[in-house]
Amino acid sequence: MSISTSLVYLIGLPFAGAAILLLGGRRTDKWGHLLATALSASSFAVGVYHLFQMVNRPVEMRPTSQKLFEWISVGSFNVDAGLLLDQLSICFVLLITGVGTLIHIYSIAYMSEDRDRRRFFAYLNLFIAAMLLLVLGDSYLSLYVGWEGVGLASYLLIGFWNQKPAYATASKKAFVMNRVGDMGLSLAIMIAFATMGTVSFAGVAEQVDNTSEAALTAMGIMLLVAAAGKSAQFPLQAWLGDAMAGPTPVSALIHAATMVTAGVYLITRSNFVFDAAPTAQLLVVIVGAITLIFGALIGTAKDDIKKALAASTMSQIGYMILATGLGPIGYAFAIMHLITHGFFKAGMFLGAGSVMHGMNDEVNMRKYGALRHFMPITFITFGIGYLAILGVPPFAGFYSKDMIIESAFNSGGMQAIFLGSLTLIGAAITAFYMTRVMILTFAGTKRWDEGVEPHESPWLMWFPMAVLAVGSVTSGYLLYHDKALYKWLSPLFEDHGEHEELLKPIVVSALALTMVAIGVSIAVYKYMRENIETVAPENVSWLTKFVRKDLMQDQFNEKFFMRPGQLLTKALVTTEDVVVDGSVRGVARMAIGSGSGLRGLQNGFVRSYAALILVGALTLIAAIWVVVS
């Protein structure tokens, strides 16, 4: 472990950008976007500097830390504001700042017409800062700050055009569902403190051996809940599709490349917990497996290009989560897929943005078609991303996804075959819906609305796409070659030696490619031959309808959470009025009522007053009689 004093700049630069642009207001309109981009880029530069520093240090000295100040200290609860840059976080730092900077550049052009562009860049910078804090925090609590920070940034960016009520609702939905996950994270932190007396990563790692498995399992499950919320995993996946309401660069950065992968980071970071809590680990695998199929299925029926990509993201993150659930053999591959996915999915999202840019913000793929002729660069970069996600060699996805499939098959026991098969099926479905996206968008006939004149985007936009495309081609091999990433990360994980190989790598690749081929063929068969209608056909099977409705996820949430919640709220509002406040009012009414009743005694007749006195006297005499006898 070495000490550094410059880690804080990584976060500080973009944070300063956000602060300046937000507080400066309209005065910074002219140059705000440039400042934000520059700060993001300089943060990237600091990251690269640290990477070189790190590479040049011996393995055990590679992690770097910086203590900023004492944050919260009460009794035995001591949390410092501290940063930790190790082999894992540097990957994220570079991904976040690298892709982030590209997307800043892209957005300069993409948002040039928007009168609130400055605000947009402020949010972007805020996001970068929060995300960096998330991956650099040296304790669960510091991570939590970043964790909610990105949630906030995501909320702001999804709702960037919140004058449209649907968009505002989408942003709220995202934040609230994320908060459910955050609840998991805070409970995990509480469990950690209650059982281990510490909330720092290092401290927890140290105490894992002395902690009961039950506590670790509970903590693991809570971490999983957190991860599910942030990474749109089952059962907290429903917000991601709606999150596409945000401007497309946002979808590329936050909802594809970085923020949604925070769950993968969290589980990988907590490897020591999960390794000691097999039940929690199993749940991670199950959640990953369900989500990868779930997302893929949703993707098959989406006509909105961004939502199709979002479903794909969900599914791909399902792969990563599944890999992390496999334990030490999976962590490195999860991260590897995360990085490659960051490249190709961001690239595709930017491509989608580029298409929308040229198509007057149309997102319905049924109204695209034949765009390869009009947007060649977009077509090529998007196509590279497509090949990468399919896992066609030598594109990036081939290496990373195959490794996950391979790990699944090699995870041992009966579950291995089952998981392996699931990942293969997922690959096939992915191939199907991605091919569908390609065909609907770039091939076939023009189905544009009138007045739409597609055109290639300006260089500020295609340049980042090109860079990402290059990454989509090369990153896989670079990371895979000589097990580069695996070796880089392995000091962090406790890998217990060799794993039995159920299937040879070459067999896995062959199987995977076969499944992909099947998926592609079905899609080509289905969409190249027939004419695509611009309105989705209604006479389809119940299964299609079911899938179109996102497997009823919203209906489910509505029926089992939203409606009961609303009913409960209504019931409580009534209770408040009738029972809680009502009982007080009742007492008051009773007092007034008895007062009016007693007032009747005072009837104005002096004789009845005298009678009252007489009654009083008689009562006293009666009392005396009782006492005496």
Partner: protein, 99 residues
């Protein structure tokens, strides 16, 4: 004759007076009932004076008579005044003030 019999008579007179106050309507009669009660008390005083063998009770009776006389003065003044304004001496008519 046992002195306590006087006490019973006194109690009876007192009770008659008290009941009279409650049941009679004419202010003068009501007032006379009260006088009856006072005199019942006087009877008790005198009786007790006899029983106890000292004169304090008899002195008290004189005081009571004087005070009762004063009460008559004040009382009649009030009753006459109210009779003049209302042309009625019924205590039930004077029930403006209530509740």
């Amino acid at each position: 004759m046992d002195a306590s019999n006087y006490l019973y008579i006194s109690a009876l007179l007192f009770t008659i007076g008290a009941v009279g106050v409650v049941v009679r309507r004419n202010a003068i009669v009501v007032f006379m009932c009260i006088e009856l009660m006072l005199n019942a008390a006087n009877l008790s005083f005198v009786t007790f004076s006899r029983i106890n063998g000292n004169l304090d009770g008899q002195v008290m009776a004189f005081f009571t008579m004087v005070v009762a006389a004063c009460e008559v003065v004040v009382g009649l003044a009030i009753i006459v005044a109210i009779y003049r304004s209302r042309r009625s001496a019924s205590v039930d008519d004077a029930s403006l003030l209530k509740r």
